[in-house]
Symmetry: C2
Subunit: 205 residues, 2 copies
């Protein structure tokens, strides 16, 4: 059953632990590639070009926008962030699955171009738990915590634009569910038409 | 996340091992109920009413047809076979998943009434393998084998009417894939709208 790879898009509100879930997923699936974003912001200490991000100059990034080489992009605090399209297309064609961890707005833009992708939204088990996780970081002011929680609630209300929701009550459980989603998606009849038709032709010819 | 159960419909050509796969699935999932068919044919030796089939008289079966109490039914060699609707609805409402092993024509009739069901078609790894399995039974004449294989090829060509296809190359692997499909389906956003909205309301109120 040789076929195209799947584009896996994962989003979730800040504090829901989606980064941890994605890392655990990649650890378990060496065959899944991670889509590295491009940015014009400067590398932070320890960040490496081509590992954490592709660090680009503004003119290069703007040329990529003009040439349609970005799957999606956004400007945040005067820096650009975006997803290079070429590597994704190459990998999908080679039959490799590729993971994109991205915000909902970006995800919905990607969905327009890749309607066959697998869109997963990571949910907290409860808003109280999400609040506790954000407070636990100890990096946010009271005002910032309120603001994050409201933003999370608004974001979650739109989670039905995704195909799947996975509650991150425990990382291994969330990863198992995503594993199951990937296995199921690879069984979808419309992803296996070539095999189905080759089988029925084996007898008919 | 309390919610309705899922109706799981499994079909596959004769000789593909779908019965073995279904039994293995039910062994592994005590929580999945099996939908017992109703029939007007006489019980064979060892068959029990309410276990293998509900054995009914023709008048009773015909009354069920008239009263719309069958999800689907067919007449085969002067006997009726059908799926009683009431038990299925009761179990789904109670949040229980229920498995239906049924031919493609019946499955497509069920799909019209339960578009939210999970429709899985079991495929042989190859037609040569299917032929070998049918020959291995030693119960069919050469003509009957040819006839079964042609029927299988025609049936497989229409497998794209199902949502999923699962190759039964090895029973444990096929069961794992069906497991994954069930887990994934329970994560579908449109099956979790109540939870999604309750989460976002927790913060907003």
């Amino acid at each position: 059953m040789s076929k195209e790879g799947c584009l896996i898009v994962i989003s979730g509100p800040s504090g829901t632990g989606k980064g941890t879930v994605c890392n655990a997923l990649l650890d378990r699936h060496a065959e899944i590639a991670y889509s590295i974003s491009a940015t014009t912001r400067l590398p932070r200490s320890g960040e490496k070009d081509g590992v954490n991000y592709y660090f680009l100059t503004k003119p290069v990034f703007e040329k990529m926008i003009r040439d349609g080489e970005l799957l999606e992009w956004a400007e945040v605090y005067k820096n650009y962030y975006g997803t290079p399209l070429k590597k994704i297309q190459e990998r999908l064609t080679a039959g490799q699955d590729i993971l994109l961890e991205i915000d909902p707005q970006g995800a919905m833009n990607v969905k327009e171009k890749f309607p066959d992708g697998i869109y997963i939204y990571i949910l907290p088990p409860s808003m109280a738990e999400l609040e506790q996780r954000i407070r636990g970081r100890g990096t946010d002011s009271e005002e910032s915590i309120c603001c994050r929680l409201r933003a999370a609630a608004d974001e979650i209300a739109a989670a039905d634009h995704y195909q799947y929701v996975v509650v991150n009550d425990a990382v291994p459980r969330a990863v198992s569910k995503i594993n199951a989603i990937l296995m199921a998606e690879h069984c979808r009849a419309d992803r296996n038409l070539t095999f189905i038709h080759s089988l029925s032709r084996q007898e008919r010819k």
